[in-house]
């Protein structure tokens, strides 16, 4: 398996966004994942979201762990810096990167093996620290890259390819994210792009720890009867609580909504999230309600998708640490070094 570059042929008629980029500018290398892998659909959704939000591709940093899912950053945003770190430890690398330069957009991409097993600790801690990022788990319930072992998100009783049942309880990443303090929590399905793209857009615009669990069937090892992460199973059991429209801050904010069916959330930076509610009583501002609702639907055998929780006034890590506005990686001697005179005074205090 080697790197396959995409031909750089641009169709002259391709639509351009406000920055003059076409969708092709948001693509990466040709995917080497299995044909039909849910992860590729997520890459496509990321490409579309970034294109539609008019983001400068090079201002995004993509950081991942290890796994098929973690390989995907190669397949989108080819002119962004990417970092494939070690298994399960994407969160710490992303945290450090974010501390070094608060001005970029950080996209963390991980798998359920990566984040729910070896990386569960780092997953929890990056959320409670409030790192400003989009954390996407491409959740297929198995280890894809190591060929089909159960991951910690596999439902108890679900079957692997050979028909063996999973004996352990499952970790629900969304429930955990709610508990760990993520300020934007959503679940999507790689097979439902219409819902997924706006969820990603909302997460990018959110200035805090945004977590997105995306059910992403593994066609090679987990798309058979008996799996609860197969396309068919998820389609049958999906219960979407809302659909999202996202309006970035620079667009004029419209005032007309259908009362009762659409709710708007204006975020810190002025971006507006319009929630088209499918569930009559679903309130995404209430963390406790979200947790409760999630458990309720799970008991009913349903997989809840949509924006489950959002904190309209999140505080990110830099705000908590009260760091200067300038990116740390641009500070120099004059900003950082106290100088010889201060050192002399320091010495004097030690005699």
């Amino acid at each position: 398996m080697t790197y396959i570059a995409k031909p750089k042929l641009h169709h002259p008629e391709l639509p351009k966004n406000k920055l003059g980029y076409t969708r092709r500018d948001y693509e990466g290398a040709i995917s080497t994942l299995c044909a039909g892998c849910g992860h590729d659909s997520i890459s496509a959704a990321i490409i579309q979201a970034c294109f539609e939000l008019d983001l400068a591709p090079h201002r995004i940093a993509k950081i991942s762990g290890i796994g098929c899912s973690s390989k995907t950053p190669t397949y989108f945003l080819g002119s962004s810096h990417g970092f494939n770190s070690v298994h399960g430890r994407m969160p710490s690398v992303l945290t450090g990167a974010n501390l070094a330069n608060r001005e970029l957009i950080y996209m963390g991409v991980s798998g359920d093996g990566d984040s729910a097993s070896i990386g569960l600790g780092q997953f929890a801690h990056i959320l409670r620290r409030g790192v400003n990022m989009v954390y996407i788990v491409e959740n297929n319930g198995v280890y894809g890259l190591t060929k089909g072992q159960f991951s910690a998100t596999a439902d108890p009783g679900s079957k692997d390819k050979r028909g063996n049942a999973n004996l352990d309880d499952a970790i629900d990443m969304v429930a955990l994210a709610l508990q760990m303090g993520a300020t934007y929590v959503a679940r999507g399905f790689s097979g439902d792009k219409d819902q997924l793209v706006p969820l990603i857009k909302g997460a990018i615009l959110h200035r805090g720890a945004a977590f997105l669990d995306v059910i992403s069937p593994c066609v090679a090892f987990n798309n058979h009867d008996g799996s609860t992460k197969s396309y068919d199973y998820v389609r049958e059991h999906n219960d979407a609580v809302n659909r999202l429209d996202v309006i970035p801050p620079r667009a004029p904010i419209q005032a007309a909504y259908e009362p009762g069916t659409v709710e708007t959330i204006t975020q810190h930076d002025g971006s507006v999230l319009k929630l088209r509610k499918l569930e009559a009583h679903y309130d995404p501002h209430d963390r406790i309600h979200a947790m409760h609702y999630l458990e309720q639907r799970k008991a009913a055998g349903e997989i809840v998708t949509g924006l489950l929780y959002i904190d309209r006034e999140p505080e990110d890590l830099h705000a908590r640490l009260r760091t200067v506005d300038a990116p740390f990686n641009q500070l120099n001697e004059a900003d950082l070094c106290p100088g010889a005179a201060a050192l002399e005074a320091f010495n004097a205090g030690l005699r």
Binding site: Y3, T74, N98, A100, F328, N329, L336
Partner: protein
């Protein structure tokens, strides 16, 4: 049998952890220093549990020997629990100072030791009603008594108390009161002065008194570190805490009150090093500080930083290993686990500071090295340097000094059309160019990964580019030498056939041992290692001597192994001198070991008959 020693003795305080003795003992040490006499104190403490024994050993040495000496001339025995051991450690003719509130039978003493009893508890109980006050002032009272017994100028102690409680002025008078109460009692009832005395000298100069962790932390501030990520572990925690303190003083933007630093107490060591690597990748100067167990946990990430070529600085304040080992004792036991940290073929740059002065200097320098070499840099300190105050040269900074940010291609370089290949060896020194994320809309972006790749950072599993890359990393390691502190070579007074190599905290004991050996007619040239990879002088030094002692503080002669592995010298040339019981190495130990070894070497070879 009485000990007559002026400005040359060891006082040891045996206390109970949590009794508040630390600041009183420090007051004692510093008052000697203020009289112009060099001191070197050492904390000997348990793993942070109240009520356990703790000791503070102060070596007073006009000659300026700062290594641990071994043996005690005056034992201030304040802990009944350790009485027997404390008594046994006194040199013949030495002194025992104890709380005589409850008289002890003569069987509890030694015939060859002077016993000085003072009813400390009784005095305190008479004077104070509050239990905590009784405990705290007892310490100040014995400092007062010692000032009389050893002829320490009480004015110096008074001044120190004033400095210590600056801003909390209401505490000054009661402390002075306790001090004089102890002093007056001693002058009236005790045999003042005793055979051990402090006489004003002028041997301290403008040297400063600071511990290695504090100095290293300030070095990180001067070196431009903006991100610190750590997980508490003895004996490194005080470094992270000191960095925080220094940053609050020096790194808060005056206008906005915003911080030009971050300190993250991570969830574990894996996260600490991950944060450092993420920050280094993104162009900020970042470090972690830890000890052996933390280094073990960081191994996978260290390999990533090596192979993906990301600047990172790691301070390893070594303690007794393996495993949890002796968390509060000192060792130089992580040399090999740092030099070759992680799986596969890896080698890392190590720095070996000798004292707090070098802790500061190497700390500041490590960030230049990390960025210049795009690699993890290990600063190998240890508990002995890190957590004990040591007399050392003042910290120095030249305002003309500029940070070496290494080979970074900026927007202008890319815009000007300079070719960018992340792992291209453009200059032939093995060091490639990098770009910071977000630099340019079209050029210079690359993918960082731990898997193999070609010179343009494109994933490949081909053998040839892999080998090329591994060779380039070796080239880079060779290049590193020119940026590293050189070893310090010292010639003996007489031409010497033998040499000695040592490093880090072994330095002060070594200096003294060489003097003692010289008195016995043994002359040794020495080389103090300050960095790995080794400069060529190291091999030359070994080759130009018949035999070279390698003095270090671990069981398996780790530095010797590294020298054998990297310098290609004959194993028989390197004689290990190993001290590893957790206490700092002493001149006595080195002198004895080298002396015995040389005696054995001089034995004529046995002639074989047929």
């Amino acid at each position: 049998m009485s000990q007559e020693r002026v400005n040359d003795f060891v006082v040891k305080f045996a206390n109970v952890n949590g009794s508040g003795s630390a600041s009183a003992n420090r007051l004692f040490a510093k008052s000697v220093l203020r009289m112009g006499v060099p001191v070197s104190p050492r904390n000997i403490f348990p793993s942070n549990i109240q009520g356990l024994p703790t000791w503070y050993e102060v070596r007073v040495s006009e000659e300026g020997y700062l290594g641990a000496r071994g043996g005690v001339d005056l034992m201030v025995a304040m802990n009944p629990q350790t009485w027997d051991k404390d008594l046994a450690s006194i040199e013949p003719g030495g002194y025992l100072f104890y709380d005589s509130t409850k008289p002890l039978p003569t069987s509890k003493f030694r015939d060859d030791v002077h016993v000085i009893g003072m009813p400390l508890t009784e005095i305190c109980n008479r004077e104070y009603t509050d239990a905590r006050q009784r405990q705290l002032f007892k310490n100040i009272i014995y400092v007062g008594a010692l000032s009389a017994l050893l002829e320490i100028d009480v004015k110096e102690i008074e001044k120190l108390i004033g400095e210590q409680f600056k801003g909390k002025d209401r505490l000054i008078a009661p402390n002075l009161h306790a001090l004089h109460m102890g002093r007056d009692y001693a002058l009236k009832y005790l045999p003042c002065p005793i055979g051990l005395r402090v006489r004003r000298a002028n041997r301290v100069g403008n040297r400063i008194f600071i511990d290695g962790n504090n100095a290293a932390a300030l070095g990180c501030v001067y070196g431009g570190a903006t991100v610190a990520a750590w997980y508490p572990i003895t004996p490194s925690s005080s470094m992270a805490e000191a960095f925080m303190r220094h940053c609050r003083k020096y790194r808060v933007d005056a206008a906005s009150g915003a911080n030009k630093f971050t300190v993250i107490q991570a969830e574990d060591e894996l996260a600490s090093i991950g944060i450092v690597i993420g920050a280094g990748w993104n162009g900020a100067r970042a470090f972690t500080c830890t000890s052996g167990p933390g280094i073990s946990l960081m191994q996978e990430f260290i390999g990533l930083a090596y192979f993906a070529e990301i600047p990172a600085v790691l301070f390893d304040i070594q303690r007794g290993g393996p495993s949890t080992g002796m968390p509060t004792r000192t060792q130089q036991g992580d040399v090999l686990s740092c030099a070759y940290a992680s799986h596969g073929d890896t080698k890392h740059v190590l720095l070996f500071p000798e004292d707090p002065h070098e802790c500061f200097e190497f700390a500041a320098r490590s960030f230049d090295l990390a960025e210049r070499l795009q690699a993890p840099i290990f600063v190998l300190s240890d508990l002995d340097i890190g957590m004990n105050e040591r007399l050392c040269e003042p910290l120095q900074w030249d305002d003309a000094r500029r940070y070496d940010r290494g080979k970074v291609m900026r927007y202008e370089d890319l815009e000007a059309g300079r070719e960018f290949g992340r792992y291209l060896d453009v200059d032939g020194d093995g060091i490639p160019y990098r770009t910071y994320p977000g630099t340019h809309p079209r050029r210079g972006a690359f993918f960082t990964r731990g898997t193999t790749r070609d010179a343009y950072a494109r994933y490949t599993e081909e053998g040839a580019p892999y080998v090329e890359n591994m060779q380039r990393l070796l080239r880079k390691f060779e290049t590193a030498k020119q940026y590293l502190p050189r070893p310090v070579v010292a010639k003996a007074k007489e031409p010497a056939r033998h040499g000695a190599v040592f490093y880090g905290s072994t330095g002060p004991a070594m200096k003294e041992a060489l003097d003692r050996l010289e008195e016995k007619g043994v002359f040794l040239d020495t080389l103090r290692l300050r960095a790995f990879p080794f400069h060529d002088e190291v091999t030359e030094f070994i080759e130009s001597h018949d035999q070279v002692f390698v003095v270090e503080q671990n069981r398996d002669a780790q530095m010797r192994a590294l020298l054998l592995n990297e310098c290609g010298v004959a194993p028989a040339k390197l004689i290990p001198v190993l001290h590893y019981d957790g206490t700092p190495i002493t001149a006595r130990f080195i002198t004895r070991e080298i002396g015995e070894s040389l005696a054995a070497l001089n034995v004529k070879p046995i002639k074989r008959t047929a």
